[in-house]
Symmetry: C2
DNA sequence: TAACGTTCTTGATTTGAATCAAGTTGATTC
DNA sequence: GAATCAACTTGATTCAAATCAAGAACGTTA
């Protein structure tokens, strides 16, 4: 069984019936490295759970890509803004490594929640976690200097540096790759 | 009748009964300039609609406040992250002008939606708009230089410069008041 | 293993915003 | 209307990160 189902069940125990219904709606996607889950300008039609791999969310910019977030196993990917409003997305989501994503379409999600109200809890939880994540991200961008953002990331998520190409980490920190490289030599020795 | 009810009714026509129920849960707050609607560390227990006045949301920082958003008439204020999770808020929301806010407690909101399912639409709409707003804000912070953020704000929301003390606008643009002052003399003349 | 392309590092220089430091303007109070 | 305080402006200087420019390390393919 896919780990995402195991994890959902662990947090929100579901009846056998609900669980089956959920599993039946799952669409399994295999994304190659650099393949897009969501492209700017298209409507985000489904929400995905990363079963394996990693992805990044970024905004297109004339000069450089602006990376806003990384996602690993058990993360939820998608643009809630586009998914809910059904307006074109302003963000891109792309696989960093070859990845496996379990995706649920909007229609299926709506039907599932309607027929299995216990899933409403899950959906609320996901939205709640997204708000929390967003606030923390905004806080980091507004309150901390580039150098401090680097140190905080290193402290809180050291594995990111092992797993993600540094150019993307630099973009996430909103600095150039050169600056990141200098921080690393300065603080990592 | 408060304008917020008028506007809700315009977007999502409600039955007389639902409308009455909603009005009965409204708590009217009068906030003096500089009075807090939500303080960092406290749980956000209600969501407010600004009937009159203006407010700002900011993150506390050792050196300076980091302003993330402004709210005017008909805006929704609160920390969804804290409101939904019932964890202490990491943001502050404070009145810029003397303001009138129509507030709804979490319990009332939950009860209202349960008894009047048509209000679920309204709640979903508010959450959706919040996601859209957040994505746009992140985009501006990540993609654009301080100078470009200034020009964009001037173009899209010129009234902000009339109504909001410039120190807060500077904080919102993530620049110092001195830099904002220089931009103004450079680009407004 | 040689050749290529990509990613990362290192150095020199430039630059845009922060900081530091006075002023000026404006609003409020006595 | 003077005095006070906060908000904003202006100027001089400093500083951190961007840019520009090579080069080194690494992975992949021939």
């Amino acid at each position: 069984m896919k780990r995402i189902f195991y994890n959902i069940h662990k947090i929100f125990p579901l009846t056998e019936e609900t669980f089956e219904a959920l599993k039946n709606c799952a669409r399994i996607l295999h994304l190659q490295k650099n393949e897009f889950f969501l492209t700017e300008g298209e409507v985000c039609s489904s929400i995905g759970f990363i079963e394996k791999g990693s992805m990044r969310l970024f905004y297109n910019s004339p000069d450089r890509e602006a990376c806003n977030d990384f996602f690993f196993e058990n993360s939820v990917v998608g643009s809630f803004a586009s998914f809910l409003s059904e307006m074109p997305s302003i963000v891109n989501i792309v696989a960093i490594e070859n990845s496996e994503v379990i995706a649920f379409s909007k229609k299926d999600i709506n039907d599932l929640i309607e027929k299995h109200p216990s899933l409403k809890q899950l959906s609320d939880f996901i939205i709640q976690e997204h708000f929390i994540r967003t606030e923390k991200r905004e806080e980091a961008l507004l309150k901390f200097s580039p150098e401090l953002r680097f140190k905080n990331l290193l402290e809180e998520h050291p594995k990111i540096f092992k797993r993600i190409p540094l150019q993307y980490v630099a973009s996430y920190l909103n600095i150039t790759p050169e600056t990141l490289s200098r921080y690393r030599s300065r603080f990592l020795v």
